[in-house]
């Protein structure tokens, strides 16, 4: 159905339970019951609710995961009081944040101050659209998927700047300014490393990129240049999501809490959630571009092995890879000290950018000469 923003493309070959079957079943049932316009509206509502639900679950899971990872690296136990193994801890935290008073400082620009967290949230939601969670399970399979992601993710900086400016607090302002410089710079190398995959695939469409990896993930197929661009991508997105060692916008030992110093209660929670959702999304994109998205792991012509791998649902593959990358980013956070602002920019402009530009050339040569597998 052209023009339909939601693509629920079923897949006949899938034997096992899969998200695709569920979504196509819903789609078929709706089409039989309502006329196409209503189907579209209802599907949009369903997708919206699903995204919000996913957000909530992701937020809870990621916060808990972060605390556990941190604790184990710091030879501590981590949250273990609320619920079995502390699994309910983040629910309790959410409840606390919900009932907290959401204060707006007197001198603040009230409108912008209250708007900023929602923009942060909206950006995170928009980024969800082109991500393929499983085989054929995608909100919007647009032909410029990769470009869309890079474009939308740069809006994030607006919400941070807005929050920093509107708070009428010097710490917040400095945090926001730092984050502005940071995100603008690191977008370049993130974009360039994404481009290497685009060059190899010859398409901006996420589905095409994933399909191109059916015979092997790009990180294996693309030799060293793709590995380099993968490393650069991970570094750049860590910086883009303002996470340690690039958390200068928050830098609690310098700026108390940076741009969200003045936020409390649910408004703070939205920023907090948006950070984690952003981490999830950039890791999902990394997994899609470099690690084959929902593609199972195949080795050459080991038929039996490949067959076993195929039995693992594609959504498990996708989430597995994504959470692996999230773990790596958390690992960074709990190991490294923070960079200084000028070092941060030096790293980008003197190291990452030249390397990734050179790397892009290399990959282009690789693609033209067909030296990849």
């Amino acid at each position: 159905m052209p023009g339909l923003p939601l693509s629920w493309r079923g897949n006949e070959g899938e034997v096992m339970w899969s998200l695709t079957n569920i979504s196509s079943a819903i789609h078929d049932w709706l089409n039989q019951t309502f006329n196409p316009t209503w189907v579209m509206v209802i599907e949009m509502v369903i997708a919206g609710i699903a995204v919000i639900g996913l957000f909530a679950v992701l937020g809870l899971v990621l916060v808990l995961m972060e605390r556990r990872v941190a604790a184990w690296m710091q030879i501590r136990l981590g949250p273990n009081r609320v619920g079995p193994f502390g699994l309910m801890q983040s629910l309790a935290d959410t409840l606390k944040l919900l009932v907290k008073e959401g204060m707006t400082p007197d001198g603040a620009d009230k409108f912008l101050f209250n708007l900023a967290p929602f923009i942060a949230m909206m950006v995170a939601m928009l980024l969800m659209a082109p991500i393929a969670f499983a085989k054929g399970f995608q909100l919007w399979d647009m032909n410029i998927g990769v470009l869309y992601v890079t474009a939308i993710s740069s809006i994030m900086v607006i919400s941070i700047l807005m929050a920093g400016w509107a708070s009428n607090n010097k710490y917040s302002l400095m945090g926001a300014m730092r984050s502005g410089a940071q995100i603008v710079s690191y977008e370049l190398s993130a974009g360039l490393s994404i481009l290497t995959i685009v060059v190899l695939t010859g398409s901006l469409n996420i589905t095409d990129i994933i399909n191109a990896q059916a015979d092997g993930w790009w990180i294996f197929k693309g030799h060293i240049p793709v590995i380099i661009s993968f490393v650069i991508f991970i570094i750049a997105v860590t910086a883009e999501t303002n996470r340690a060692p690039f958390d200068l916008a928050e830098a609690e030992s310098e700026l108390t809490a940076g741009f969200h110093t003045e936020y409390s209660g649910m408004k703070f929670a939205l920023f907090f959630l948006a950070e984690y959702i952003n981490v999830f999304i950039v890791c999902a994109i990394g997994a899609t571009l470099f690690l084959g998205g929902w593609m199972p792991f195949h080795i050459g012509n080991w038929e039996a092995f490949n067959h076993v791998m195929d039995y693992i649902p594609s959504s498990v593959w996708f989430f597995g890879k994504t959470f692996f990358l999230i773990f790596v980013i958390m690992w960074f956070r709990w190991t490294f000290p923070r960079l200084r602002i000028d070092q941060l920019l030096t790293l980008e402009w003197k190291y990452l950018l030249p390397i990734s530009m050179f790397n892009l050339l290399l990959v282009t040569a690789l693609a033209i000469l067909g030296w990849h597998f």
Binding site: Q74, S253, T256
Partner: protein, 371 residues
């Protein structure tokens, strides 16, 4: 146009770091004049934790006043107490038994290690690495346990009395200390893996917070802060007290004058402290742990001054006595105060993020600065 660094002009960004701020580890208040991210001036404001310890000491007897000094530089509590006990012993001309002196040195060095451990963790935390803090506390906890067993407390021990020690060592003391030495030697390499060798860390510290040798002397800096600039000011070497003249150890000097030099000094000092303890732990002489003293201590009329090397630098204790049971006037020369005064000089022209690193390498303990 050349802007003069160090003057506040209209339109400058002035921010307050502290009195409640994660970077200051206490209630220190810094008024920082900024030009963008660059520091033009740092003005420390003190007084938030002033308890007038000096005045309090004037109304306490010579036995009583020692315990208060644990509350100054609480991380070198033993060493503070040592300084006070030494001053009283000097005034009364009490001969401290050899055994007590050796135990005092062991305790002092353990305290120094514990203090440097905490500093290391806090330092890493200042520049944004959280994990080292917990790792440092793991080893520090072992020292605290040793202290707790012998002295009965973990932070404010009050184990030294004029004339010796308050109590005999715990029977397990030697065994526990030896275990600690083995553990510590293994763990100190992990510190290097985690922080010292880290490229981000080195870049944050190198060439930052330059304090030249002349400046270090003129600001009256002492301890690791001054030794990082090549000033040999280790009181343990220059004016040995207790049994420091009988043990082998090196005075650590670095000539880098920057934050990294001050950092390396402390890391290497911990190893020297271990060396001192290793020499003494098996050679604690038998004998009394306390000299016979009169029930009521009275210092003769006059002025008495001693200095010791705490984990932060030179602590001087000055007592003026009128021959009564309480001091007439008491004054502490605390290392933190002088070291803090160099902060403005060091910080000018560097970035805000570096200020935190510099404060970390000065190892400021606020109650020591602000008594």
């Amino acid at each position: 146009m050349f802007e003069e660094i160090g003057t506040t002009t209209e339109g400058d960004l002035i921010i307050n770091v502290g009195p409640q701020h994660p970077a200051t580890h206490g209630v220190l208040h810094l008024v920082i004049t900024l030009n963008g991210e660059t520091i033009k001036k740092v003005e420390p404001h003190l007084g938030y934790i002033h308890r007038s310890i000096e005045k309090m000491c004037e109304s306490l007897t010579y036995r009583q006043f020692i315990y208060v000094t644990s509350r100054m530089d609480y991380l070198s509590a033993h060493i503070n107490n040592h300084a006070c006990a030494l001053t009283v012993e000097k005034g009364m001309q009490i001969e401290v038994p050899e055994r007590a002196q050796v135990i005092r040195v062991i305790m002092d060095e353990l305290t120094r290690i514990a203090s440097h451990e905490l500093w290391w963790g806090a330092m890493a935390m200042d520049i944004g690495a959280f994990t080292p803090f917990f790792h440092a506390f793991r080893e520090r906890e072992k020292i605290n346990e040793i202290m707790e067993e012998t002295c009965g407390a973990r932070l404010t021990m009050n184990y030294y009395v004029p004339g010796g020690l308050m109590a005999e060592l715990h029977p397990d003391f030697q065994k526990k200390v030896k275990e600690f030495i083995v553990l510590f030697k293994r763990k100190i390499d992990e510190y290097d893996e985690l922080v010292t060798g880290n490229i981000i860390f080195i870049n944050r510290m190198k060439g930052v917070g330059i304090l030249s040798k002349e400046d270090a002397i003129s600001y009256g800096c002492s301890g690791p802060a001054a030794r990082g600039s090549g000033v040999n000011c280790d009181i343990r070497k220059l004016y040995p007290y207790a049994v420091y003249d009988k043990v082998q150890f090196d005075e650590i000097l670095e000539t880098g004058c920057d934050s990294l030099a001050r950092y390396m000094i402390r890391i290497r000092e911990m190893k020297q402290s271990i060396r001192i303890i290793e020499q003494l732990i098996d050679n604690i002489p038998e004998g009394d742990f306390q000299a016979k003293t009169k029930a009521v201590l009275k210092l003769p009329k006059g002025e008495f001054y001693t200095r010791v090397e705490t984990a932060r630098g030179e602590l001087g204790v000055y007592i003026m006595s009128e021959g009564a049971t309480t001091p007439y006037r008491i004054k502490f020369r605390s290392p933190g105060f002088s070291n803090l005064s160099a902060l403005d000089h060091m910080a000018r022209g560097s970035k805000l993020g570096d200020l935190v690193a510099m404060m970390g390498t000065l190892d400021l303990v606020i109650p020591d600065i602000d008594r």
